[in-house]
């Protein structure tokens, strides 16, 4: 099964389980989704529940918020995070804010899915990663599933969450293959998870960066360095405990973040490690982030701008000193 099929299966389960659940977004119906996630769902559920929208990000994200206020359980697909900027006012000023501003009256059980990330040579306006921007906002829960099981289980968990959830699906993951265990169900949307045990350094990554970070850990193993890999996967609220526990054991940390470095989520994680585990550290916390440049089109420049297994492994070796 592919990642996109896992997301589709979760949407199908959610819509079968709850008549209030529906999917809306640009080209989710007849087209089958820009990334083919919702292919076939229109036939099963019809146009009321697999609802094509005009290119009106502010209106259909806001309508998702209104529908959630009105008792529905909408899943809104924003084609990519790049276009979500057109709906940012609705996400920040309404979805994330209504509960507090109304003194606890206005619950917004809304799931917003969006494709994110770079690596497909689609240049500066289609390669953004704004994980940290969204994770900055109180009231939101922000998830970055990196595996088949999480792509499926985090969406199911999000559908039972009483507050707005942002789900980032990395464009490079949609075609990735894996097994969905029999009886797979909702997974935790509060905790990070250790994907690989190790003792010399903790590599911290999520979403589209997890696979290349695991590849870097393989390279490090060949060089005699035992790297632990933590998949953050819940970007807000951050699971400090899993990260801190790992760093206290390995005494070294490297954060891999696809965002631009300045003001990124990696800065927040590094600060928290300093706050919680400073005296356990044997070396400064390291970061591998994207180059601070609008994403260029040609492949060699694009790849140079992004964290790669080689650059991750090199940064880790520098921290370990071997």
């Amino acid at each position: 099964m592919t990642y996109r099929e896992a997301v589709r299966e979760a949407i199908r389960k959610a819509l079968r389980a709850d008549p209030r659940a529906f999917l809306m977004g640009e080209d989710v119906g007849r087209y089958g989704g820009c990334y083919a996630v919702s292919q076939g769902l229109l036939d099963e559920f019809g146009p009321e529940r697999i609802r094509d929208t005009p290119l009106s990000e502010a209106a259909f994200v806001g309508a998702g918020i209104g529908a959630a206020l009105g008792g529905m359980r909408p899943i809104v697909e924003v084609m990519t995070v790049n276009f979500s900027l057109l709906a940012l006012d609705q996400v920040v000023n309404n979805a994330a804010t209504l509960l507090h501003m109304s003194g606890g009256q206005c619950h917004v059980p809304l799931v917003i899915r969006m494709a994110t990330g770079a690596g497909r040579q689609v240049a500066a306006q289609h390669s953004h990663n704004f994980d940290g921007w969204y994770a900055h906002v109180p009231g939101l829960t922000v998830l970055a599933p990196a595996t088949i099981e999480d792509a499926h289980g985090m969406l199911l968990a999000a559908m039972h969450h009483p507050d707005p959830v942002i789900l980032f699906e990395h464009v490079l993951l949609y075609a990735s293959e894996g097994q969905l265990p029999d009886g797979a169900d909702a997974v935790s949307i509060t905790s990070a998870v250790v994907r690989r045990g190790g003792s010399d350094i903790t590599l911290i990554a999520w979403g589209g960066m997890l696979a290349r970070t695991l590849a870097a850990a393989d390279q490090l193993q060949a060089a005699g360095i035992s790297a632990e890999v933590v998949d953050v996967r819940v970007l807000r609220p951050l699971d400090d405990e899993t990260i801190t526990t790992s760093v206290r054991r390995t005494h070294r940390a490297l954060i891999v973040d696809e965002e631009w470095r300045s003001g990124s989520l990696s800065a927040e994680i590094a600060t928290r490690i300093a706050e919680h585990a400073f005296y356990d550290l044997d070396a400064p916390v390291g970061r591998v982030c994207s180059a601070e440049v609008p994403m260029p089109y040609p492949r060699h420049l694009e790849q140079a701008a992004l964290p790669q297994a080689d650059t991750i492994a090199a940064a880790a070796r520098a921290i370990v000193g071997r």
Binding site: P54, L69, M101
Partner: protein, 339 residues
Amino acid sequence: MTTVPATPATTPAVPDAAHARDLLRDMLRIRRFEERCAELYQAEKIRGFLHLYIGEEAVATGVMRALTPDDSVVATYREHGHALVRGVPARAIMAEMFGKATGCSGGRGGSMHLFDTARRFYGGNAIVGGGLPLAVGLALADRMLGRRSVTACFFGDGAVAEGTFHESLNLASLWGLPVLFCCENNLYAMGTALVRAQAQVDFTTKAAGYRIAAHAVDGMDVDQVAAASRDAVATVRAGDGPMLLEFRTYRFRAHSMFDPELYRTREEVDAWKARCPITTYEARLRAAGVIDDAAKATLEAEVGREVEDAVAFAESSPWESVDTLTRHVYSEPEPGHAT
């Protein structure tokens, strides 16, 4: 640059004495409540921004009259009057403006963010144009859940320049949703005159561009507002898709409390004040024999008591404990559920 619409040559007949007295009462409640708010602002009991609706009372009063308790309301940051005539208790509104725990938003919203979900009053939205998509969504939920409710969405002329106006009208029309778009055209987006901000100032033509039926209504005449709203709500409720009513009205006071009003003339303001929705309606009711001096005095006394009771309630209400600062950022587990 702006012109004052002429008073209709024929004064409409007063439809029903009790109904007419209720309309006058609601307009007066808004006026007296807000006059008191202005005093309390000077006394620093109310802080932050305070946007008064004085002059525009006929609009909220007439529209709310057309709605049922199952309908939804989305309003703007100039929404004290809408909340009051929707049935949110004056006490809860005033306490909210004081920032007290007993306020209709628990004190966390203030003047611009009045909420009462039990009365389906969904704010209190202070981003111009930000409420229109919510109204579309509320109407979508009603439709999908088989409810025959209408969502009334208030916004000003300023919002018509926002993208969300155009996106929301398109979406509501495309999907045939039961939204009554209520444009309160008071001719100024804060200090920018409509004619200086929008190439097309006839909003009914903008609605027509989205195949939405629209009418311009004299927003200074509560009977005309009530009649137009009643007809429009019936049409929308019947499933004929959204409608837009443009209420031509005028804000008598400053935009907020920090406004030197350099952008309009005293003569213009005075010309509109001569068309005050309350004094003109009162005169009409007196001429029709619906009220007299004694009835007016009784009405003023009742409204005054309601306002003073609200002030006393707000004054004596407790503040939220600082311990609760971060409440309501995320939903709290329901009792009996493990965290």
